[in-house]
Point group: C2
Chain length 210, copies 2
């Protein structure tokens, strides 16, 4: 089984598989079937097989997949052992929470610092990581090989922050501001829009009311 390009949907499920496999208790069997994974995660059996096949392809009939090997493959594929550097712009509540969040380490992400314009915030730290002045942003990116930019600013400045990130060599932007950002070809912007998620939830409630 071989695929050159992994679709976004598959990519989003891979960490879910990995997390599940890692959560299995000690004494579990050394192999696991796609059927079992599908049942545990509430997914389609064929979908699981296809997803795993895209990164592994080492399943055996009647047996399933070698759990440890599968975990390793997924980790490698998701680059969890490589360090990728990221910075946050916007040190408000959410920015601070993300800056202090330890869990990113497990995903190979090193959040190095946050940037803000507010002088009262500059110089403080959150989870041992500094909040710096936005003026030092380009220099910082150059010196630290920053690959991912996280935007937690008010929406009024989000687009200009995004533009500056791109100018500083960042090619993947994670946007938590409630604006849809535009970026040139080749730059990925992942919009994490609370309002969109909420619309889905509230749409569900509305449907079951009427």
């Amino acid at each position: 089984m071989k695929e050159r390009c992994i679709s976004k949907s598959v990519l989003e499920r891979l960490p879910v598989y990995l997390h599940y496999l890692q959560s299995l208790p000690e004494g579990s069997p050394e192999t696991i079937s796609a059927t079992a994974i599908a049942r545990a995660l509430g997914l389609g059996e064929v979908q699981v097989r296809k997803d795993l096949g895209a990164v592994s392809g080492a399943g055996k009939p009647r047996i399933g997949y070698d759990t440890a090997g599968l975990i390793e493959r997924l980790k490698v594929f998701l680059d969890y052992d490589n360090r990728v550097n990221a910075v946050i712009v916007g040190a408000g509540k959410l920015g601070n929470a993300l800056l202090a969040y330890e869990g990113f380490r497990d995903f190979g992400l090193s959040v190095l610092a946050a940037f803000d314009t507010d002088p009262s915030k500059i110089g403080q730290t959150s989870g041992g990581k500094p909040i710096l002045a936005v003026g030092t942003f380009p220099e910082f990116c150059r010196e630290n090989r920053v690959a991912i930019g996280i935007i937690t600013t008010p929406d009024s400045v989000a687009q200009s922050v995004c533009d500056e990130m791109i100018a500083c060599g960042i090619r993947a932007v994670w946007n938590f501001a409630p604006t849809r950002l535009k970026a040139p070809e080749g730059i990925l912007v992942q919009n994490e829009n609370m309002a969109s998620s909420l619309a889905v939830l509230s749409g569900h409630l509305k449907k079951n009311r009427g």
Copy 2:
């Protein structure tokens, strides 16, 4: 133009349109075309027309849509004027940030309180909203018509928290724990998985490397 059921993808874009329309400066024309919206948001022109048609259907050729009317329609459709009550379980960093976040009010969401097991947190407030003991959770839900449950606990307890929410009458769950939650038919679980988003970002970086 008439559609009975709005798809999830459309639902996710509606708040984006609304936000854009509301961000237009004072002196803007009273009408706006789907073409203009599409250009501004980087979306397909036909897609915008179809999405807007699903909730409005009042566009005129050569003119476009009445901006104020469109805003009103979107707000009504997204239920931004109705109050929907929500609670948070898990008063860690993220839980606290969400508890204190003022912006939910604009989306018609009232986050009433957070719940935790840690005695040192119970009794504190964040943004004027209390952190309560999980023991009081069922009673609180019954008394306050809570419709949405937000999970920001460690993943080990996420599923049981979800189950309890459902038992307390909650029919829409917003899950920030890094686990895929299972729920019976009729209950909507919106999984907000950091690891999944990150996988997409890191996949993009990897692709452009190799």
